[in-house]
Each structure stands twice: as structure tokens, then as C-alpha cells.
């Protein structure tokens, strides 16, 4: 295995984050702080508890997940799209590095950034809302699994996209709406029965529910279902990337 190659890609990507700290870290943390101020403090103080959890604390897992999904996708898709756009992908294609190694470098860096951001948001939330984490091990597991899976998904988007618009279209038109409708700000039990059933087709419901369970021990769907869904999506992404690497689709003529 070309460990130096993996390290080179990983460091290169991480260096990009440190170069753009304001956009990469400060902006999402500030935006999320505003959510806590508006929904957690101003509006949340007038709302009752949900499943014995204060509204301000209830939205923390959802907000972390919202950022985790968006940032994982954005980091990984941008990471692999930039060499395609600038033409420097010739170096990746001609280097003695396998696509698994390329994947580990890019997805590893994107997932690292997302996890760091997620932890920062949790730390920021603690300034506004008191909360405890019931299952810290599971919380970390969900954080890592989600970051890796959606970084992988972002990597696929970056491979597929052939312009900057396409790079934005999936996060903006698919992921963000699914996250907002996936129980980030409410429990799905608050929905009418028909919408409760429909909403179960939204995969993000399982992620938020599982992540929230790791915090407060309460969930909209069974924890096993949440773990199964995230692992299933991870497998699906891996299978797709495997096919891409095998055929060279959109990367090698």
C-alpha cells in the first residue's frame, strides 16, 4: 500500500482547510450558533419538552447532523472536483496510487474535517444549552460512520459533477430538504399518521433518530434500524465507487 501517497493526499486536503478556516470552520459554527439562539433560546423557551428533553437540547443532534451531512458532502466533492476542474487530476491518474488509496486520502480528510466541525458545534451548543450524552461511544460511532458515509457520497458527487452547479445541486436540492424534513427540529411522532409513514422513506430520519438516541436515549425509530440504514448506505456508496474505479467512469478515458 502506498502510505506516503495516502498521507500526501490527506495532508494536502487538510492544508486546504487550514488555509480557509473562516469558510470551513468558523462559518458553519456561527450559523449553527444562530440556530441555537433563535430556535433553542428565543422560540424554544416557549415550546414544551419533547420526550422529556428541552427543545433547545432536542435540536442539538439534528443540527450537528445537518452540518455533518452538508460539510462531509461539500468537503469530499470539492476535494476531488478541484483536480478535475484544474486539470491536476493527471497527477492522480499517473501516480502509483490505487483508487482505494485515493479514496482513503480524500474521504479520510473530508470525514476528519466534518467530525472536528461536529465536535465544535457540540461544544458551541454547550454554551447555550445544558445537555448530557447518554451513550458517548455510540455518539462517536454515529459521528464517524455518518461522516465517512457522506464523505463517500460527496466523493461520488465530485466524480459525477462536470461543473460547479452540479456540485451544488445535490446538497442544496436533496440533502438539505431531507435533513430539515428528517426530524432535525421535531420528532416525527409530532406529524400526522400519514406523514409519519411517508417520512420513514427519508433515510436522514434514521441518522438523526439514531444520533439523538445516543444523546438522550430516545428515538423515533429503533436504534438497530438506524445502524442498519447508515451501514446500508455506506455499502451502497462503496459499491458505486468500486464500479466507478473498475470502469474508469468519468475519470479515465
Amino acid at each position: 500500500m502506498n502510505l506516503y501517497g495516502i498521507r500526501a493526499i490527506y495532508h494536502f486536503e487538510m492544508a486546504r482547510t487550514f488555509r480557509t478556516l473562516a469558510e470551513s470552520i468558523a462559518a458553519p459554527v456561527l450559523t449553527t450558533s444562530l440556530y441555537f439562539i433563535v430556535f433553542g433560546k428565543a422560540i424554544g423557551s416557549r415550546l414544551g419538552d419533547i420526550d422529556s428533553v428541552s427543545y433547545g437540547a432536542f435540536i442539538i443532534p439534528g443540527l450537528v447532523m445537518l452540518n455533518l451531512l452538508n460539510e462531509s458532502i461539500a468537503n469530499a466533492s470539492f476535494g476531488i472536483y478541484m483536480p478535475k476542474w484544474s486539470g491536476t487530476i493527471y497527477e492522480l491518474l499517473s501516480a502509483p496510487v490505487s483508487w482505494i488509496e485515493v479514496l482513503i486520502g480524500y474521504v479520510g480528510a473530508a470525514a476528519t474535517k466534518s467530525v472536528v466541525l461536529g465536535l465544535l458545534i457540540m461544544g458551541t451548543a454547550r454554551l447555550f444549552v445544558p445537555y448530557e450524552i447518554a451513550h458517548p461511544g455510540w455518539m462517536i460511532a454515529f459521528l464517524l460512520l455518518t461522516a465517512v458515509t457522506f464523505s463517500l457520497f460527496g466523493f461520488i458527487i465530485g466524480l459525477w459533477a462536470d461543473n460547479f452547479q452540479k456540485l451544488q445541486v445535490v446538497p442544496m436540492l436533496v440533502v438539505t430538504p431531507l435533513t430539515f424534513l428528517g426530524g432535525a427540529f421535531y420528532s416525527i411522532t409530532m406529524l400526522p399518521p400519514l406523514w409519519q409513514k411517508i417520512t420513514l422513506f427519508n433515510p436522514v430520519v434514521y441518522l438523526i433518530s439514531g444520533f439523538r438516541w445516543s444523546f438522550y436515549g430516545v428515538a423515533d425509530v429503533h436504534i438497530a434500524m438506524s445502524i442498519g440504514m447508515i451501514c446500508g448506505f455506506l455499502m451502497l456508496c462503496l459499491a458505486y465507487v468500486g464500479w466507478v474505479f473498475k470502469t474508469g467512469y468519468k475519470i479515465r478515458n
Partner: protein
């Protein structure tokens, strides 16, 4: 350099490239590159030069055929094969927001080499980039960016270096500096394969020449042999009195007369034992055709190249 080394450092056998749309970019390419030589690949735009280089470097998949780089199959043993190859692409593809040092360091790591700051410093110094190591690539001139690409290609100490039109868009001074560097690399044992539109540079630099046209390698020859085999010489005689036509007594010689009738041009085979010049001059004297000046010249590599490509086109049509 030993051009008769029985084990080529690069061996291309029966390589074809047909794109999905059916366009045949390369047609049964067979080519051996000897260790330590400078090989110039010439061809008009769209001839297949970059496709061939991209295929050897792993950027493009071959439809059929094999390529062995320094003893390693580029598909089955791609890691070892690619580790021996450095590529300077035709286009100035750079990480604009990165520093020179960061991008060169990245290239070395990507190719699986342990960090070696001293080696990279030597590369940057040799390319006059050391003072610019902290500069962002976007702030550099085109020529400097070209040097950065060369530094990146050399960062992992390749034994085979591909230079795809390295002097395109580079000023004369920098171009000469670049060719000095190419000679130094060759002296250190690096095998160099280059494509260029500056044929006089290929003439000046290369040990062997390959000409590719419409995906076919139409000639591969030692440069001096190629020029001797296909080169033509010509003798131009400036006449004292202009002629209106070539006298019939001179029909035995392949002569042409300039438009103003002042210059008689005699073309002859550079390889022939007897040029026929002495006999021509005697005949001119016998018929009272006097000249005040004579000048001989031989065809350049460019003339030969144009002739080969033209001939190849005619054969294909």
C-alpha cells in the same frame, strides 16, 4: 549513451486506442526507447502524440497492446511502472492556491517516496525556483509554472521523463535554459521522451526521432540517419545574365529556375556518392552560362518532417 542496448527502458507493443465514439487515435504502435536517450516524438496537431504519452503514463486506457516501463507492465504492475515515470503535461495544470514547495512535496509523496527536503531543494534550485518556494503558484509567470510542473515531475526521481511540448509558450531564454536542464538530466541517466512543435529543437536535442501522423508511427530513426536518408541538398547558382528558360542541353539535371531567371537551383540526393556538381559546372561553362555566386544548403528536419507527413497523408488517402 548506448543506443544499441538490447533491453529498452520503454517498450510499446501493438498498442491501439479506439475511443468510445469509434475514433482511432492510435493504430498498432510499436516503439522501443533505449535507456538514457533523448527521443523526440514529432507530429502535427491531433496526430496522437499526447494520447500515446497519456496511455503510457496511465491517464488513458489502451484498447489493446502492452507497454513495459523499465521492466514493469504498466497495467499488471502499474505501481512499479508508474514510479519510474515522470510526466510534464502540455497544459499548465497547477494547484493555483498552493505554494511551490507544497505542490512539489505533494508530488513526491503521491508517488510513494519518503520525504526528502534536501532532494527537493536541489530540484528547485536547479530549476531556479528555490527563491519562489513560498510563492503561491497563481502568482508565477507562465514560464515559472512550466518549471514547477517539471519540478513536480522530477520530485519522485523518475528514470523516464515525458515532456509534452515543454517549451510551448515559453520565451527564448527560458527555453534554452530548459533544454540545458534536459541535457543535464540525460547526463544523470534520465531517459527523456519529448514532443515539440519546435522542430529545430528536436534537431538540436534528440538522439532519435519518431514521426507520428493520424495515429500511426510512420518513422522511427536515429536523427542523423534520418537526415542522411531523407535529407536533400541543393545548390543555388546566381547567374550573371538571367535566363528566360532552362537550356535543353541541361535537361539531364533536375534543375529549376527562379521566377526572375537569376537563380538556377540544382537538387541532389545527400546520400549519393556522386553529387553531379562538378559535371554540371563543366556543362554550364561549356555553354557559356556564367555565374557570380554559388551556395549549397541541405534540408532541415522540418523539411523532412513536412515531407513525411505529406507522404503519409497521401498514402492514407
Amino acid at each position: 549513451m548506448n543506443t544499441h542496448n538490447p533491453v529498452p527502458i520503454l517498450s510499446v507493443r501493438g498498442v491501439n486506442k479506439i475511443y468510445a465514439g469509434g475514433f482511432r487515435a492510435l493504430n498498432n504502435i510499436n516503439l522501443d526507447i533505449q535507456r538514457g536517450e533523448i527521443f523526440a516524438l514529432l507530429g502535427p496537431n491531433g496526430a496522437g502524440k499526447t494520447t500515446l504519452i497519456s496511455l503510457i503514463c496511465g491517464i488513458v486506457k489502451a484498447s489493446s497492446g502492452t507497454v513495459i516501463a523499465d521492466g514493469h507492465d504498466i497495467v499488471r504492475d502499474y505501481r512499479a511502472a508508474r514510479a519510474t515515470i515522470g510526466l510534464v503535461p502540455q497544459e499548465l495544470h497547477t494547484d493555483s492556491f498552493e505554494s511551490v514547495w507544497a505542490t512539489v512535496k505533494f508530488s513526491r509523496g503521491l508517488y510513494g517516496k519518503a520525504p526528502d527536503a534536501a532532494y527537493l531543494e536541489n530540484v528547485l534550485r536547479a530549476l531556479s525556483l528555490w527563491d519562489k518556494r513560498k510563492a503561491k503558484i497563481m502568482t508565477l509567470s507562465g514560464g515559472m509554472k512550466r518549471r514547477v510542473l517539471i519540478a513536480k515531475a522530477l520530485a519522485h526521481e523518475p528514470t523516464i521523463l515525458f515532456l509534452d511540448e515543454p517549451s510551448a509558450g515559453v520565451d527564448v531564454e527560458l527555453r534554452h535554459a530548459m533544454w540545458r536542464m534536459v541535457r543535464e538530466l540525460r547526463a544523470q541517466g534520465t531517459t527523456i521522451i519529448l514532443t515539440t512543435h519546435y522542430i529545430e529543437e528536436a534537431e538540436d536535442m534528440a538522439d532519435r526521432i519518431g514521426v507520428i501522423n493520424q495515429g500511426e508511427l510512420i518513422v522511427v530513426e536515429d536523427k542523423s540517419v534520418l537526415m542522411r536518408k531523407l535529407g536533400k541538398k541543393q545548390l543555388s547558382l546566381t547567374l550573371r545574365q538571367p535566363l528566360s528558360r532552362i537550356p535543353t542541353e541541361l535537361n539531364a539535371w533536375p534543375l529549376t529556375l527562379s521566377g526572375d531567371g537569376h537563380t538556377l537551383i540544382y537538387r541532389f540526393d545527400a546520400q549519393a556518392e556522386e553529387s553531379g556538381i562538378a559535371a554540371l559546372l563543366r556543362t554550364l561553362n561549356e555553354h557559356g552560362i556564367d555565374f557570380k555566386d554559388l551556395r549549397s544548403s541541405e534540408s532541415s528536419l522540418e523539411d523532412i518532417f513536412v515531407g513525411l507527413v505529406h507522404q503519409s497523408k497521401q498514402e492514407l488517402t
